[in-house]
Symmetry: C2
Subunit: 233 residues, 2 copies
Amino acid sequence: MLTQTLNNKVTPLVGSKVSPAAAFPVPDQFGAVTGHVGLVASEFSYKKDEEIYGEDEPAEYVYQVVSGAVRSYKLLSDGRRQIGAFHLPGDVFGLESGAAHRLAAEAIIDTTVRLVKRSSLEKAAGVDVQVARRLWAMTAGELRHAEDHMLLLGRKTAMERVATFLLEMDRRLAVAGMMALPMCRRDIGDYLGLTLETVSRALSQLHAQGILGFSGARQIVLRNRQRLHNMDA
Amino acid sequence: MLTQTLNNKVTPLVGSKVSPAAAFPVPDQFGAVTGHVGLVASEFSYKKDEEIYGEDEPAEYVYQVVSGAVRSYKLLSDGRRQIGAFHLPGDVFGLESGAAHRLAAEAIIDTTVRLVKRSSLEKAAGVDVQVARRLWAMTAGELRHAEDHMLLLGRKTAMERVATFLLEMDRRLAVAGMMALPMCRRDIGDYLGLTLETVSRALSQLHAQGILGFSGARQIVLRNRQRLHNMDA
DNA sequence: CGTCCATTTGAGGTGGATCAACCCTAGTGG
DNA sequence: CCACTAGGGTTGATCCACCTCAAATGGACG
C-alpha cells in the first residue's frame, strides 16, 4: 500500500519522543532502535478499516502506532478470520525477519503510524549489534504473546477467554481505571476464536455479576480484577 | 534439570555434521550459529516422558534434537495442556531472547539432544552480527509457526486441524512416503486443541475414505495429499 | 428526528466433549 | 513360543458449550 498520500511528513528521529497520543508513557521500542543510528521515520495516516499491508506482501516498512489501533490477522479461503494481535499506541508492528508480512494489517479506527524502511533497519542491525539485539527481542516478545494466545485458543473456555482479553486490554489501555476499546465485538471474537454473540453474552454476564461496568458498549471499567483473574484459569 | 549425568560427552563443533539419526538431511541451524564462533556443544539423553526444562525455568541452554522427539507445552492450573510445538531431529528448541523458558519441554520418546549454553550464544551474538541475525531468524521462524497455529486453533474445524497436522508431519518426518509418528493421540489432541477421541475419529474417517493407510496406529502413509490439502481449508 | 450499524438477546441446532466399553498390540514373563 | 497384561487406540451414546439464525434494542451521526 502506501500509494495514496494522506499525511506524509518526514521527520528525522534523534531523541525521538514517542506516542504523544498514548495516555501513559510506553517503552520506546522504536526509538530504542532508530535512535542509535539516526534513521529517518515518516508519519502516515490510515482511515478506519483501511489496509496497511496485506498477507504475504513484501515487508518494506516497519511501523509504530502513534495514535489509533491496528489489527493483524490471517484469513482462510472462505473468509474465517483469526486476529493474531491488536496494536495500540506505542506498539511496533510489521517487523519481519523474512521478506514478507505473514499477517495482514488494517486500521481499526483512524490511525497514525510512524514507519521506517526495513532495509534501513537491516543495515543498522548489520553494523550495530545492539540494534540487532533489539530486533530479536521485539520478535521474541511477539512470540511470547503468540504462545500465550495459543493456550487461550486451544484450551480456554469462552468466559476464560473474555476474562483474559479484558485483563490484557485493561493493562494496555486503561486510563484512570477505564478502558475505551477501539474494536468491535466481531474483532474481539475473531481475536478470541469466538463469535461476536458469545463475546457479547460473556460481557453481559460479567456486567450482571457486577464485575464490570459499561458507559456505552466500548467504555468498560473493571470493578473486580481479582474475580476476573480467578475466571481466567 | 541436567543434574543427572546420563550421557554427557563433550564434542567441539567445527564443520559440524548434524542429526545423524535424521533419516534425511536437515538444514543445520545449530551449526550455522555455533560453527562461526567455535562454541562447544554437549550431548545429553532423556528417557521417554522425562522433563527437559520446566515453564518459567531459567533458560540456561539451547537445544537441538539429534534423535527422538520433544514436545513444548503450557499448562493451565487444572491440568489442561496446550502443546505449542513438536521438535524433531534437526530442530532447535529452548532458544529464548529473555531469561526464562516460556514453555516446558519433555521428551516424547527416548531422545538425544545437543546443547550449548545460552550465555555462549549471547556472547557470540554480541561479537558476530551474523550469529545475531541467525538467532533472530530462528525466533522469527518459531513465531511464523505460532501464527499459523493460532489460525488453526481459533478457526479451523477438527477435520481441518487433523489434515493440517498430517501434512505438517508428512513434510517434516516422512521417509519413503511413510511417517512414523512419535507421539500418542493425546499429544496430537493437545497440539490441535482437540480431545484424543476426536483425533482418533478424524483419522478413522480419513482411513475409511482411503486418504491414508495405517501400519499400526502410528505408522501412517498418505495416499492422497491433494485431497488432504483440500480438507485443510 | 431518522437512518444505519453495532450490540444485545432469544431460540434452537450441532460439532466436538464427555463418559463408557471394548479392542488391539507390544511387551513380559512363564 | 505363547498366554497374560497394560497402555494406547477405537468406537458408541449422550451431553452441552458454543454456534447459527433471527429479531429487538441502542447509540452515533447526519
